[in-house]
Symmetry: C2
Subunit: 376 residues, 2 copies
């Protein structure tokens, strides 16, 4: 396999390093806007040099961002090249278009590293659904949020200090919105639900609550009641009715989710035959992510493409009722639904996920966290 590598940042460099040691795949050209030189690959600033090189059979896209990643990937497929990408935004936005295009051109398209970094989650999910139906997908899918919540819980840090530390360590961006507002997790959940349940979810029907407004005081209350807070993605298929949402969720100390440290992920599926299966590993980082890109290249070499096409367009129906912890805002609806108080936060009576998220839309400074179902 001769690879045209787009991007030479965290992931691209990792792909280059891992493939250097292999005889079955080589990075032949690297598209990179910086002035670098490599002993065994040609570096160019011009994507056309890759596109028109007929000796390059596979394009690895590790640039990130929607544009020009989308245009480059599309052109590569049109030109008859296989594509492997780790770009979650690209895949979440254009999967529905790129997959059929790749199929019509007879090339392979894989994107395992787009969800879960070092965890081969999408490969696992695709494999799991070969022999059973998938009832649930989800879990802790964002290492940045887990790092922040874990630091607040174990070290008693404030949100601001935990975020700064995550930024200093390179786990969080200068503008952390994509992570802390749950957008990254939301992308991953939609992609996982679509592949797991064979649907094409209307993204507008999938609400996401993040962790931006959590305070040290909230975490102290959770601890006092024996709980740990995690940002959870939940996707469920109940007889064809799909529910899907992202929200902070409390777990009893001693449960597997509560034990996930630092920037690790724990991603779960529940299948009709296998029961619960969970995958634990590093959700980001150079070599873990590059590892799954190279796994995809190995699968392309083996002739294995990706994935199931999406199914019919559906809206999520989030009619489950849960009790929530809510803090930071007070109003009449909350008072009406108050069941108990934890410090300055309140515990609601059971309300639907949909109702809670609608309320949150109108009160964006509030923090919410769902209590476990069996505590409701």
């Amino acid at each position: 396999m001769r690879i045209g590598l787009l991007g030479f940042g965290v992931v691209g460099r990792g792909v280059y390093d891992i493939t250097s040691a292999r005889s079955d795949m080589q990075v032949a050209k690297v598209v990179c806007l910086e002035d670098i030189s490599l002993p065994d690959a040609q570096v160019t600033k011009n994507f056309q040099d890759v596109l028109t090189d007929s000796t390059i059979d596979t394009v690895v896209e590790a640039m990130g961002g929607l544009h020009p990643a989308y245009e480059f990937v599309r052109a590569a497929i049109e030109a008859g090249k296989n594509v492997v990408t780790s770009n979650k935004a690209l895949v979440a936005t254009f999967y529905d278009e790129l997959l059929p295009l790749a199929q019509s051109k007879g090339v392979l398209f894989r994107c395992t590293a787009a969800v879960g970094g070092g965890i081969g989650w999408l490969s696992e999910l695709e494999r799991a659904r070969r022999v059973q139906s998938i009832h649930r997908v989800g879990g802790i899918m964002n290492g940045t949020c887990n790092y922040i919540l874990d630091s607040m819980t174990r070290l008693g840090l404030t949100y601001e200090d935990a975020l700064s530390q995550a930024q200093a360590l390179g786990y969080a961006e200068a503008n952390p919105s994509t992570d802390v507002d749950g957008i990254d997790t939301w992308h991953k959940l939609i992609l996982s639900s679509n592949i797991g349940f064979s649907v094409s979810l209307d993204p507008q029907s999938v609400p996401a609550a993040g962790i931006r407004s959590i305070r040290a005081e909230d975490v102290a209350s959770f601890k006092a009641h024996g709980f740990v807070c995690k940002l959870m993605a939940t996707g469920k298929n109940q007889d064809g009715v799909i529910s899907a949402y992202v929200q902070p969720t409390l777990f009893r100390q001693g449960e597997p989710e509560a034990a996930v440290p630092a920037n690790y992920n724990l991603i779960t599926l529940v299948g009709s035959a296998s029961g619960r299966m969970s995958f634990y590993g590093q959700g980001a980082g150079r070599y873990p992510t590059a590892y799954n890109v190279v796994q995809d290249c190995a699968d392309v070499l083996a002739g294995k493409g990706f994935y199931s096409p999406y199914g019919k367009k559906v809206s999520a129906v989030n009619a489950d009722t849960l009790c929530y912890y809510v803090s930071g805002v007070q109003d009449a609806w909350l008072e009406e639904n108050r069941q108990a108080s934890w410090g300055s936060g309140i515990i609601t009576k059971p309300v639907t996920v949909e109702a809670m998220h609608s309320w949150l839309q109108a009160h964006p400074d509030a923090f919410i966290a769902a209590l476990p179902v069996n505590e409701n």
Copy 2:
């Protein structure tokens, strides 16, 4: 795919149920000594009926035990049929012979369900090692022991009561030795190390300590010091030197291993690129185990055989030094190595794994548990 199914117990019945719903594979004949009848498969007491049926391309062995499973599987391979087996004892004992035989006959041989039941561990390990070297394999690999230890920890049961409960629930056999003496975990560790590290370990060089002698008092001491006890398999490859051992091990409350409940497994590899990856799921049970048997059948349909051949014969070198908790026996060597006391148990100074297990051989009524490395 037309399947000849050997055995119609827990796993065999599950395989029949799952494949009944599929169009790409059917159980054509079942070898079963009991008088049953099935609407869409012929039942026979005679294996020759499967062996001589040229329309059957794949034999699924779900009988368990070494004999006649070995003779049947060997004959099936000789007759040019693919083999899928969930039989750990068979695979641990005869892998080195059956794999080359299958290769020479041009048939496929898979055994994912032999380790981890519902967790596709051996498939994962085989996949992981395509693109990196494996530094570590192991984890919680026996659901029976985990169920007993978890019940003792969470519910404060005695060993005897926890074992009886596990037996009543079908998680433990009437004679539980294979599980509680660590033999099952030992089989799984040797198989995983051989596949992960490309070696053929001398089984005699791999020591196993079990949980038969653990008392409620030991568990109470662990709890008081913030620890949870689990039966762990550890396999490590340090620059070609392999160490491998099975022993009860203490984890700090809050660590992932400490949070594994009931009869679940948590199996881990550490790779040069991916870092730590762990797989969590049900280590046994009808549908979880049958799920991986059917996954293997799907891989056989896709032309994907199993696994890497073993590598060169080596002995494990267990020179790591650890501190141990020891209870139930007192003697001069222990006194010499005493560092502290926990109730009637003692904490040793750092001793080699090899020295500790040699001592245990001479004192089979003792209970030992390793402290975490970072507590040494």
